[in-house]
Symmetry: C2
Subunit: 402 residues, 2 copies
């Protein structure tokens, strides 16, 4: 690491996030992040796809955007249009889709299209950390809607919208992860989706549907996307290949009405997203996606079983959770005395990484004794040992019995 | 393209860029953009590299950041450290390097690290359009320093810094493309680099060195990077694989002192750049970069010869230009009567795309009759026909003789 005698510090603007910490390698047992099951990666298929697509049209890599223009590699958008129709009921064409560098870039682009400092947005009370952090940095007022076992509560959403109306505030969007919600893993039933659309139309507030875990329901079934159920067109839909194929590829997408698309596209000034990933995914997924995903679901569900059994064995009734309907994470409530932020520190020192609840909720005090445990990446043995370590730490530090 | 009855327009914040135009495919003869020579793409080598690296370690794709952490795939950073040492004299380690999604993300990250609205920055008067556009959007005051045949003029830089000092303004950086400047294709001699460093130290203004074309000098030689010559450490260096391998891959990098790196890294919230591109580039370049680049240079130089001969044939002395020392573009001055922005429109209608000078300069009036012609991507025949078309249009519309 090069050091400098030059005074950069006095040049930094106000409001920068804190300096990043030095990365010291992965911990022994990592229950954090959207990492996936390495054994379930379709490696042979990806290699074959890479060879085939590069042999056929690799020379287009010499051109920004290949021969597909700024919305991304057309065969990938064609695959997505057909997959979104079959799986989520979305009727769209490749022209309605923008390929992004992961759904994180999709988050940034949609936020940049709609938000300015001082705006108000509505999200689920327990919510993806990356979304919460972005909204905090953007200086936006965030209203969290409580969830129950069927996802966002529509009575609470209705009250919040009424309350905003009384104050003369029009929220910029209702952001939801309706299908395998992060972190609660709930699935919003179709009736609630319809009610959300009714409220959206009544208040003139669009819905932003983040469907990045929607391929990973245990049953293989899912309700139609909110985008598909809309008749007013006030829905922006985003998704990702990170959870269904591999997170390191960094390929996500936005489906949006053309009026929004042209604004979002004007903000995507990155020269296009990585072409190799787009080409390989299109080639692989067109032939293999529908065979790969069920195998991945089985592997993930087996790990979830290992995790819940380990929690029952090592924590007993002290660890409370609802059985997820899909996904890669479990939202666990520990007894009131447990401080998840403190547990995070001591667990890290013991080689176990967890997501402390307060980072995944806008209701920090209610999430104080909660954890998000991601189970896709660690091995079955690491899951067992990691949970045993967490239980031991909870007994020692928070007087958990057992 | 889906349309919507929902009123999104009233939700858009002020200050968005204009809506993007619909993409209608590539034009017949494209003299714009950083597209490269498709025949010079090392396709067999890239396919072999993809297969080898994926066979060996492809399962790490299941993890964000592979096993390399947030600064990017370590073998690629190792290749870069060794290549930067050999080619540019830069002594750095992989820890000093951050892999980015193209050098465009590097531009955004460094700007976000240092700039806020109202700041002042110094750039070359004729400059990369993407840099100018970003600075305009950021609301920054841009001071353009004139160039001559040896790049940025140090007497003009010195005067500009003195003038700012009198006003009590400390510029946030001096941005320069010293090695094959865009669009003038000049190379800043080592004495000017040393003088720039002296001025940087005297005024407390860091230098931001954009070296994205530096691999493409005809001689294969280049002066040491400004980063390498610095003893105060006040230099940020960026580069790219877009010009040396393929632009659609979207892989660039930042070399910076650790104090800057930790701030920049905290702003890179995209879950990492595309892993497949990083892996394939590391695998390919470690073994083949030093063989590939000379072949690419020869192919590019041959196209430049075709372009300059076509200009001489069709424009005669009406087209003025200095012989570039490398790169993929030619900065052409036409007679005073020619309006490049108008020529752009009529050329596009005739299937020829050009970069009008005013978009590549902060001195719009001086650049009014200038063009940037990129020669790497069109074929030799397209170059000939494209130049003939341009000459014909200039005769018809601007009364060019000949």
């Amino acid at each position: 690491m090069s050091s400098t005698s030059f005074d950069f510090a006095s040049l930094l603007p106000a409001g920068l996030p804190p300096a990043a910490a030095r990365w010291n390698g992965r911990v022994k047992c990592d229950f954090t992040g959207g990492n996936n099951d390495a054994d379930a990666l379709p490696l042979d298929g990806l290699i074959a796809a890479a060879t085939a697509v590069l042999r056929r049209e690799g020379r287009t890599l010499s051109t920004y955007g290949l021969n597909s223009g700024p919305q991304g590699y057309r065969p990938l958008r064609e695959f997505l249009a057909s997959k979104l129709k079959a799986a989520a009921g979305i009727a769209c064409t490749p022209d309605d889709i923008l390929i992004t560098s992961g759904s994180l870039q999709a988050l940034d682009l949609v936020n940049a299209t709609l938000l300015q400092r001082g705006d108000t947005v509505i999200i689920e009370e327990d919510c993806y950390q990356g979304t919460i952090n972005r909204l905090t940095r953007l200086g936006v007022t965030v209203i969290g809607i409580p969830l129950d076992r069927e996802g966002m509560r529509m009575d609470a959403l209705s009250s919040a919208l009424d309350e905003l109306k009384r104050k003369g505030v029009r929220a910029k969007y209702i952001y939801t992860i309706p299908t395998v919600q992060n972190p609660t893993a709930t699935i919003l039933p179709v009736e609630r989706r319809q009610e959300m659309l009714r409220l959206s139309a009544a208040h003139g507030v669009p819905i932003w549907e983040d469907d990045c875990y929607a391929d990973l329901t245990w049953s293989g079934e899912r309700p139609p996307a909110i985008y598909a159920l809309s008749d007013h067109g006030g829905v922006i839909h985003i998704g990702s290949f990170s959870k269904s194929i591999a997170p390191a590829l960094r390929v996500g997408f936005i489906v949006a009405p053309w009026e929004v698309m042209v604004r979002t596209l004007a903000l995507k000034t990155d020269g296009g997203s990585g072409a190799l990933e787009q080409m390989v995914l299109a080639e692989y997924c067109t032939a293999n996606f529908s065979k790969h995903v069920p195998a991945l679901r089985r592997a993930l569900r087996a790990k979830l079983v290992t995790l819940t059994e380990a929690l029952q064995q090592h924590f007993g009734p002290a660890a409370q959770f609802d059985d997820p309907e899909g996904g890669i994470f479990l939202w666990v409530t520990l007894p009131e005395g447990v401080d998840a932020a403190k547990l995070y520190q001591s667990a890290l020192a013991a080689g176990v990484a967890i997501n402390p609840g307060p980072e995944w909720s806008v209701n920090k005090s209610r999430a104080r004794n909660r954890l998000r445990l991601c189970f896709a990446s660690p091995s079955h043995e690491e899951i067992n040992q990691g949970v045993a370590t967490l239980a031991q730490l909870c007994r020692r530090e928070f007087g958990l019995s057992g």
